[in-house]
């Protein structure tokens, strides 16, 4: 085969795909980017982004427990994440405790349990570190399979509950009066959020997953006029940043989770600047026409 010039755009994109781990990583980035930014849109509009952070930290206890028991870490994380999500909501609603306090108590408690258990394991594993900070290149075929199944479940739930989810995000009281069970929808959203976080743990890690939930949706929220636009742009930004960040981390030999999150932060900054400049220019144009 004839040698080709290196460093064409084609090579930059496709050369790394010789490695099976890179193919899996790109697929995982697409799914995780899409799913986080999809659920993230609801999270941002309902202003519950700190619940995402709380659930992610709480799931650490599940990961360590699963490790000790020799069970798949995804199962441990999923069980504890769902329990933490419902626990936060229960303590908030029934205990008369404010939501940020409920998150603070449960997330730190569960995270501490994880650290406590980990400190007692003498055969310390670097795998746990991967889950804290994310290592998308370490996604196994089995991980990818579980990610696909969980992502399908979450996507199906979003499609079935799409209208109630929008209605309760905007106006839960009126939705409730018209016959929507707002409380139940909230719980289901929390379970979807927990599953989304579990799906994303390998890719971006416990500490950074909240960024992938919030930043793409927040970026889309800067300019989208309608909910559906915000959702679509959020997913587009999420996928682009996840895949772009993955490639950047590959070439820069940097941590993948952090690079993906930095890509979303950079996008947010650029969009914010463009929107502000646009507002400034249109205001000036408005003043000029008025003056004339």
């Amino acid at each position: 085969m004839a040698m080709r010039e290196p460093y064409t755009m084609f090579d930059l994109v496709f050369a790394p795909l010789h490695y099976p781990f890179m193919v899996r990583a790109v697929l995982a980035a697409c799914i995780v980017g899409a799913l986080c930014s999809l659920i993230g849109t609801f999270v941002v509009l309902r202003r519950i982004s700190f619940i995402g952070d709380g659930i992610a930290h709480a799931s650490f206890a599940g990961i360590v427990l699963a490790y000790i028991r020799g069970v798949d870490y995804l199962i441990g994380a999923a069980v504890v994440a769902v329990l933490a999500a419902l626990g936060i909501s229960y303590v908030h609603r029934r205990g008369g405790v404010s939501i940020d306090t409920a998150i603070g108590v449960i997330f730190t408690g569960a995270f501490a349990l994880g650290v406590f258990l980990m400190s007692r394991i003498h055969s310390y594993s670097t795998d746990l570190e991967d889950l804290l900070f994310g290592n998308i290149l370490g996604v196994s075929a089995h991980d990818l399979y579980v990610i696909c199944v969980l992502a399908t479940v979450v996507l199906a739930l979003v499609l079935v509950l799409f209208r109630p989810l929008i209605f309760t995000s905007f106006d839960p009281v009126v939705a409730e009066a018209s016959g929507v069970r707002s409380g139940l929808i909230d719980q289901i959203l929390l379970v979807m959020l927990a599953l989304t976080i579990v799906v994303s743990l390998r890719a971006v890690g416990i500490v950074l997953v909240a960024a992938l939930l919030v930043t793409p949706a927040a970026t889309a929220g800067l300019f989208a006029r309608r909910f559906v636009d915000m959702l679509c742009f959020s997913v587009l930004i999420g996928v682009t940043c996840a895949v772009g960040g993955l490639y950047a981390s590959y070439y820069l030999q940097a941590a993948s989770g952090a690079t993906i999150v930095l890509a979303t932060t950079l996008t947010f900054g650029v969009v914010l600047a463009v929107v502000q400049i646009g507002k400034h220019l249109s205001l000036r144009a408005f003043r000029t026409t008025k003056a004339e």
Binding site: L161, F162, R163, P164, D171, V174, E176, A177, S178, G221
Partner: protein, 245 residues
């Protein structure tokens, strides 16, 4: 059958009693004004009928059923405009369309009829010029009209309006009043709280004065005769029982 019935309803928030022993019947196709000072329990009364608050004692029946057991969208609750975040990314049309959500199952798209009802509601409240405008760019009166349009699109039998005239311009108020009268003409039941004591006869068939309990109940003319007493109450914040109704 009465559209709405309350039997010995008592509502409490913690150990604070918001409404005590309220027994009321509302006949179908009437507009009822619920008048009272801030904190008199008039919004609580609406929320209880909507099924948003469960009474500590007593029963609420809407067409013979508990509010939560009514068919979807039997009841349309129209909150005060401050109740929602208007920076939500949606156009006027998007919000009015939410009124149809209860009628459209998840596996079905909006039908021609759904769209027609949305169009009709938008037109009825004079929102056509703004229908593609983002809701964050609306005035208070326009926001209130959007809320009522959403309720109209839902074809609900019972409409519960919480102070729709507060902070609304005169033009919007006229539109709201006409729509309320039309709804009643079409057989709907409208219950509406207000603290505006003027022109009640133009709005309502019946007026109820609330102060933790029902203290007056009658036609607008009958209650207007008591107006001075009620006004005094507003002025000084004293609870005064009116015996003659």
């Amino acid at each position: 059958m009465n559209a709405v019935e309350l039997q010995d309803v008592t509502v409490a928030y913690g150990d604070v009693c918001a409404l005590r022993d309220v027994t009321l019947q509302f006949v179908k196709a009437t507009a009822v004004g619920i008048i009272g000072a801030n904190g008199s329990g008039k919004s609580t009364l609406l929320k209880t009928i909507a099924g948003l608050i469960t009474p500590a004692r007593g029963t609420v029946r809407v067409y013979g059923h508990a509010p939560k057991r009514c068919a979807a969208a039997t009841i349309a609750y129209v909150p005060q405009v401050e109740a929602v975040d208007w920076s939500f990314p949606a156009t006027v049309r998007d919000v009015v369309a939410m009124g149809r959500f209860a009628h459209v199952p998840f596996y079905r798209l909006f039908s021609t009829r759904d769209y027609a009802l949305v169009d009709e509601a938008i037109a009825r409240l004079g929102l056509e010029p703004f229908q593609h405008r983002r809701i964050s760019a609306l005035s208070g009166g326009q926001q209130q009209r959007v809320f009522l349009a959403r309720a109209l699109a839902g074809e609900s039998e019972i409409l519960l309006l919480d102070e729709p005239t507060t902070g609304v311009d005169a033009a919007s108020e006229d539109v709201l009043r006409q729509v309320v009268r039309e709804l009643v003409g079409n057989g709907k039941t409208v219950l509406m709280t207000t603290h505006d004591l003027h022109s009640t006869h133009e709005w309502f068939d019946r007026v109820i004065v609330v102060d933790k309990a029902i203290i007056a109940d009658g036609t607008p003319e009958e209650v207007t005769a008591l107006k001075m007493d009620v006004a005094c109450e507003h002025g000084h914040g004293h609870a005064r029982t009116i015996h003659h109704v």
